[in-house]
Amino acid sequence: SATDYKSASPNLILLLGFTERAMRAAIASLLLVVLAIPQHAAAFKENEFKKCAQTSFCSRNRNVHQGANFDVVPASIVLNTATITGTLLNKAFGKHLQLTVTSHADGFVRVLVDESPSVGRYQVPSDVLVSGWENKKQGFKEESRTSAAITLSTGETKVVLHFQPFSLAISVKGVAALQINSRNLFNFEHRRQKQEDDPAGYWEESWMGHTDSKPKGPEAISLDLVFPSFQHVYGIPERATSLSLRSTNGAAPYGEPYRLYNLDVFEYLDDHPFGLYGSIPVMLAHKKGLTVGVFWLNAAEMFVDVVKTRSEVGTQWIAESGIVDLFVFTGGSAPAVLSSYARVAGTTALPQLFSLGYHQCRWNYKDEADVKMVDSGFDSHEIPYDVLWLDIEHTNGKRYLTWDSSLFPRPVEMQEDLASRGRQMVTIVDPHVKRDSSYYIFSEAETAGHFVKNKHGSDFDGWCWPGSSSYLDVTSPVVRDWWAQQFTLDKYKGSTKHLYIWNDMNEPSVFNGPEITMQKDNLHYGNVEHRDNHNLFGIYYHMGTAEGLKLRGSQVDPENGDRPFVLSRAFFSGTQRVGPIWTGDNAAQWSHLKVSVPMLLTLGLTGLPYSGADVGGFFGNPDAELMTRWYQVGIYYPFFRGHAHLETQRREPWLFGEDTTARIRTAVRGRYTLLPYIYTLFRFANTSGLPILRPLWYEFPDNEDLFAVEEEFMVGSAMLVKPIVAPGVSSVDVTLPAGARWYDALSGAMVPPKTRSQRVQVTMDAIPVYYRGGNIVPLRERPRRSSVAQAADPYTLVVALDDKGEASGSLYVDDGRSFAFQQGQYLHRDFTFKSLKLTSTVRLESGVPNGTLTVPTTIERVVFLGLPSSKRGYKALIGGKHAVQLETGPLTMLAPQHENAVVLRKPGLQVSYDWQVEIVAL
């Protein structure tokens, strides 16, 4: 089986390589027998990846106290409205650094440290971030200045710069938020000349047969960031670990720092500090009364230690190169921190509505007949889905943007056929380019010099799916431009406007490179070493591809264009502006289902909410129970896709027996029911940077019991989901936070909150989900075959009342596909329920044009949860006159057997206009 090979120790395979050939076959067969013993723990080859101790820059800085080595030169301090500058002196070397602290109007302070004078150390290019924030500053007020420190304030933020040794303390509203270098772990390795007695690892480093020539020598930076009186920090994805980050001075594997280095980690473990495919150097710290965020804009390999004590969470961040460019978000609350971060790194691109539906993927849907069969399987089993995916086998020999014409002789007709039922297709396109001069992508790119270079300056040649490959140097805007042009309909043969793209392997994955990636001394555009911008390769490739689809869209629809949909595996800060990511090659195990929740919550807290885990697990074969539970959770993943490895059994939703098919059908229909709510949440993510999935503490920031809860999560502010992540579960403990009213999302029954968790009975049919009182949630209840087929359907409003009998919510509507919304072609309504009056008003938001769209859609049902009981019931006065009797009915059509809700039937309300409905007790 697949795992058998995977668990093979590399030593054994190496050994095989040295053995006399005549013996090889015999040994190979012996090996097969040996390997037939499952060795799951050995799947992730820990020894194929570097630890801090095996990494020169990390080991020479980790926990190394520099004493009072770095001082601020008091006389050098200059305050110029919003910016304070000064000189930092590295006393051990007599080297000068320039310190710059700037206060920005968008709720953050930026701290820059670079060598003085500049030696041209790498800085992350501005196109990774958004622009516009740089010059919006908010002046500093000098509160006091002594020979030891200067104290400045800006808004509610106070900054104290201590001179000897250098340290910086930031507080918000009088509460200590962050201390920089309070433990003297700060270090800044300056550029230098090679000395004979330089320690090993300064100018060259070897590991697993790869030698990294380090022409620039040591240039690491250590940042000492302490969150005083905090107990919880979150963020720095991507890894399969807890939501509230554990200390890294514990037992293995948590004796290793968290690592930020985008890597293709084969069969990653479900509980490990090791870094995976993407990196966002953002951390949030939360305590009662204050959330603070930090963002170190640096794309080099980075290790982050977390050490918790009773009084603080101390963190040490060690990067291999670059400069200090630290953003400290001081808005005070998690939403404020995320909004501020979004001002810098951008907000989530508003996705096409179809991409929020269900995606069916597999390595591989084999041929056109297979595609047709899977597509019709969804219809015959009445399970909605929107997108069918094709993995690498659809290409001609892994030459991306081509088709295997024996398997897919008529790709255009195939896509048109899917589109006739409102469905789209996605094909995979990876950044490695097969070195084949008859392959047009290779020959054009080679001729134009578009490939990443090795240290000798010639085209880098690495190994990936197609064999010997070169890699597009997407860090160059010229290469990205060229790459974007490859996606127009005339260039990408066999593509249609219904085809979207999946970028895999863009860490980049290089099978024969160090740690399955590129050599750090490879050279990029501008003669930048790969070491400096490694973590940007993924986002740049993703960007180039998304630009390609944007370009294609502008040709197909010159007026409004077409929003790109490109899924990526690798990511960095800013990826949210480009497209969704998924958590890579997980496994069909309960533990992987479980860890998917903290993984996605973490991504939401670091500005990248449009993400998902492969439903069912990529490696291995899920049984019916795991499959069912995974779908029941997966419908709440912002990106909802089922995917499976080449060698797994087929697992389309109807292959697990009728009961399971019915349960998955109900679950997926539930996703489609929620699309208006989810799309509206995406609109908020798009305008304000707010997450879709939220940890409980995000919504209940004062309840300390919830700060580490990852067993439950919120979808927006209105729904609480309790995943079931173990087999054979008949009851679960659910925590329903106090201070809110909760309603069972199937039956509508009110569930009283409790300080502690409560036991809830469950069946295989559903996992516990609750509406939170105080919210109005828009739904579309008709179980269509796709999101496109829902376009004309009426809405249902669920009005879940809080203790005061009030609720509010909103509904965002646009064409679901083009950029017309940016010109105001959208509809955004606010609904409020107060004093028994339900009101619809237009929602106006600053910074975006007002909505001008009207649609003929109506509201077919209004469901009230938590109305006080009235003996003779209620009637509704619509527009002040037309009276309709309220009826008892089900909360949701998915569970018509529960008639617990008070329902306003067919009120005929237009979603596009203002109206008011008054509820009157009879």
Binding site: A28, G209, E382, G397, C464, W465, G467, P896
Partner: protein
Amino acid sequence: MQALLLLTLLAGVVLTHGNSLRGVNPDLASHYSGHGGTFTCISGIPKTIPFARVNDDYCDCSDGSDEPGTSACHNGRFYCRNLGHEPRLLASAFVDDGVCDCCDGADEAKGKCQNTCLQAAAVRKEALRGKIQLHEHMLKTKDDYVERARAFKEELQLKAPTIEEDIARQQAEVQNLKAEVTRLEEEEAARQAEIAAANQAAEEARRADEAQQTAVQAEDSGSGQGEDAESAETVDNHAEEVQGESQGEREETPEERGRRIASQWTSDPEAAAVEGQPEEHLNADDSDGGDDDGDDEGHYDGTMDDDAEGQFDYPDTEAEHTEYHSERHHRQQRPEGSAMAEERPPPSEWEDLMMFLDLVKQWAARWMHTFSKILRDGIREDVLAHRAKIKERSRSRQQRWESAKQAFPQPSRPRTAVAVSSSPPAASAVAAVATDPSSPLGLARTAAFTAERQLQQLQKDRENIGTFLNRPMDFGPDDIFLALANKCFSSYQTRWTYEVCMFEKAVQKEGNSNAVTVGRWYGFSEDYKVMYFSGGDECWNVGPRSMTVYLSCGLDERLSDGEEPSTCAYSAKMTTPAVCTQAELEELQQQMVNLEAFEDEVRAQIMKDEL
């Protein structure tokens, strides 16, 4: 709505209130009469609603029955009349969703869809026509079975009276011929011994000559021709080993590393086997298939496999061969490991039929060939001439061998002296040389062999007589199942193989392990639609195993759906033309008559409707 009304009228259904409602299933029409101005949900939570709420685009009933013609309910069913084709019950979700699901387009707003029922009907008619032809063919086969069974029985009856006598005679004949062979072999052995002695003397002389030459040369000259490649490889390996020793541990090349990592992702255990197959390299285009292979299928190639194979090298610059071809070649060869696990939905009736018709053609050709051959050879004639022939054969053995020799000329390729026979060791040397069939020994052997075969045949006849003639056994109407005498049919499920041997036993096997007998022949059910096997191997706590095989009309014998519904009681399904009936054919023919009778009317109506 008007169109639907007209169509309904045309169909001759009495117009009721319910029929004017969109999407109502005629079987449920009585629920939609509107009597009393109310509607009662057909199932689910009991509820009665004003009739005005039926099809008002709001779901009131928990079973969706109040909205047969809209998409309001999750679980509603929309009835498409599909006049001219087959009616269909569509999920409510597909009503008014912009996709034409019903061939009459009734599920979408008027004007949105074209009526494609006639096209669909034409396809259906074609399918029906095929089914009829198929059934006619199966009935014809059934007649053939009866004839075959009769001939078989008659032959046994003819042979029965003298069978013991014939066997005794034949046994004597075999003994005589074998004695002759032994005599000739001894003669030949003596002759060979003389030759060998002479050869050995010559060889010793030659060795003395070669004593000065190098050991390597001596070794080489000793190698057989067929081992050349292997020995070349040995030399190669030797060289590499020496190099390896001198360099100490060899590092992976970048390619090897890339391949090793790529191989993590898939097991592809077949890769080694596939690459090892000589035919992979037979194709001229594929002459260095190893390269192509690596290019296309980077992740399929386990480094381990490559190493084990040890014969690939991967040039940096790839020559462009017909990689594409190679890849496809590969695909065809790749065992469908994942495909086996696949449960593809059943093919549509149409595809099924097409496949079926194809099979009919092939099978018919095959069967006609066999059957006409039997007729040509003349079973009866054969039976009548049987005894005469036995004598004739033994007399004309010599003659027949001569003619056979002419028909199958000897290969000119010289044979190597390799002993492959199962002859006793003493005779092996003789057997090795005396393979010339035209020699006296060769001729004697052939004669003995032929006589033995004939003896076996006679013994089989005796067994058949015992089984099928002398036991009171039921072979179905006209003894039709005798046509399947001595035949076994098997079916492979995901784990188990079931094999059913007619009138004998049924077994179950797992992989290569020993078979479990799940029943011995017991008999048919009264209607000959079921076969029983009982008294199989003992099953712990249950008793002897048993198996039931359900028969149905089909093109030929195919066993399927083997399972164990309750412990140690097995069941399977089997198709056979032997149970096809005229009534089934007539039913199909009637369907065709109905279809054709309706066709013109429907066409006229649809045209009118479109106007």
